[in-house]
């Protein structure tokens, strides 16, 4: 099952890569560097998927006290932090030639940066508790608080003027760009979500093995 997921993500990632260079047109003003979008946007969106899974798994853990839910939350936290970190890095690489700066305190950059530090804090909390049962409980509470904080963070930074181009996929009125851009983006998005699922499943299995080795 996990192995199938792994191969599926390889196939989807290769397809996404081929499409972002073969199918997607060369952007007129930004040039080839714009193709980084096909990695940048899926990375950030799948990190949000990871954080939502983390919150749901935390909630399930508090209700059922099922260690499996805790392992999913833990693994999702690690993969989510990695994805959002890579999303920030690719955004910086894209921002330098197009905006002329690696970083700016624009609204969406700021919210993503806040989420990054928030979930790094989540991993730090897990790392500083030895008792696995207590770590699971505390992390679940933090996971829920953090998830409820996401809309507040977004609203508060939204009231700043933004430099970022407005969202092109999820906006009122639907997608209006060319389908030559949409399809490569969607294929990459699916590929990265599958990759997230695969890595999380792998990590959760490893966490189970660690717990069994200690017990």
């Amino acid at each position: 099952m996990i192995r199938t997921l792994g191969w599926l993500s390889v196939v989807a990632l290769v397809a996404g890569l081929v499409m972002s260079f073969g199918v997607a047109p060369r952007e007129v003003t930004q040039g080839t560097v714009q193709r980084i979008m096909y990695v940048h946007v899926p990375l950030v969106i799948s990190s949000y998927v990871a954080f939502i899974v983390l919150a749901v798994a935390s909630f399930v853990y508090l209700l059922r006290r099922d260690p499996r839910a805790d392992r999913v939350a833990h693994a999702s936290g690690e993969i989510g932090v990695m994805f959002i970190g890579l999303g920030i890095a690719t955004g910086s690489i894209w921002g330098k030639p197009t905006w002329g700066t690696w970083w700016t305190w624009d609204a969406r950059l700021t919210s993503v940066a806040i989420l990054f530090v928030m979930y790094v804090g989540y991993l730090l909390l897990r790392g500083s508790i030895d008792d696995p049962e207590r770590a699971a409980r505390f992390a679940a509470v933090l996971g829920i608080v953090a998830a409820l904080d996401i809309p507040l963070v977004h609203f508060s930074v939204y009231w700043w003027r933004t430099l970022h181009q407005p969202p092109s996929l999820m906006k009122p009125g639907g997608f209006t760009g060319s389908t030559a851009i949409l399809w490569p983006l969607l294929v990459n998005l699916v590929a990265f979500v599958i990759l997230y699922a695969y890595l999380t499943a792998r990590r959760a299995r490893l966490l189970r093995a660690e717990a069994e080795a200690v017990a």
Binding site: L62, L142, V145, S156
Partner: protein, 225 residues
């Protein structure tokens, strides 16, 4: 004892302990005085520059003292070996949370009033016209800081490296509260009416309600053992 009376008993105990020992308060008062020195030294005496950064610096002062005050919430019990006694209190554990929250709010109000007074004196700002609005902003902001702060203090009380972990967990979660309070304070000090910052006040109120409900519901989980 009813739920409310149990919460009140915890709050009364903490206020009485603090009033008699002044352990935290003395240090906090001195700390906020030192903060003013630090701000003055690092920012220089240029009045225009000071006026521009004042709202941010004021809230930096509030937050730094809050980090010290809130982080100690459950250390009184730890240091005097009363932790188990507190846990043995019968009934719903969230009463303990509400009691601790109340005593934290009292402590923070005292410190913030002092910091604000020192700011008025040392930076020579006129806050009389902005005072009613400022009161609402500070009250909502302090409540937001204290709700999550009290919850996280319980979480980090039994954790390695808690002095570092507490601010590391609290600050990112509190970014909405900080943004809202600093922006609202800035507008109010510029003489704008309360209506101009209504959106920030709504955000603060929403944050306060969300934080309080989550904290009350999850506090039991943290005290389990």
């Amino acid at each position: 004892m009813t739920y409310a009376r149990r919460a009140l008993a915890v709050a009364r105990k903490d206020v009485a302990v603090e009033r008699r020992s002044k352990e935290t308060l003395n240090a906090l008062v001195f700390f906020s005085l030192l903060l003013l020195f630090v701000f003055q030294i690092t920012l220089g005496a240029d009045r225009d520059r000071l006026a521009a950064v004042l709202p941010g610096v004021l809230w930096l002062g509030f937050v730094l003292s809050a980090l010290l005050a809130l982080g100690r919430t459950f250390l009184v019990e730890r240091e005097h070996d009363c932790w188990e006694g507190l846990l043995l209190a019968p009934g719903d554990k969230s009463a303990i949370y509400l009691g601790k929250l109340a005593s934290n709010l009292v402590l923070m109000t005292v410190v913030e009033a002092l910091v604000l007074g020192l700011f008025v004196i040392f930076f020579d700002i006129d806050i009389r016209r902005a005072l009613p609005g400022l009161f609402i902003v500070v009250a909502l902001g302090t409540f937001g800081l204290a709700t999550v702060g009290t919850l996280f203090a319980a979480m980090t009380a039994n954790v390695r490296a808690r002095e570092v972990l507490f601010p590391v967990l609290l600050l990112p979660v509190q970014v909405p509260v900080l943004l809202a309070t600093v922006k609202a304070t800035e507008a109010l000090l510029l003489g704008e009416p309360l209506g101009a910052v209504a959106h920030w006040l709504k955000l603060l109120a929403a944050a306060d309600v969300i934080y309080l409900v989550v904290s009350v519901l999850t506090f039991d989980v943290i005290l389990e053992g």
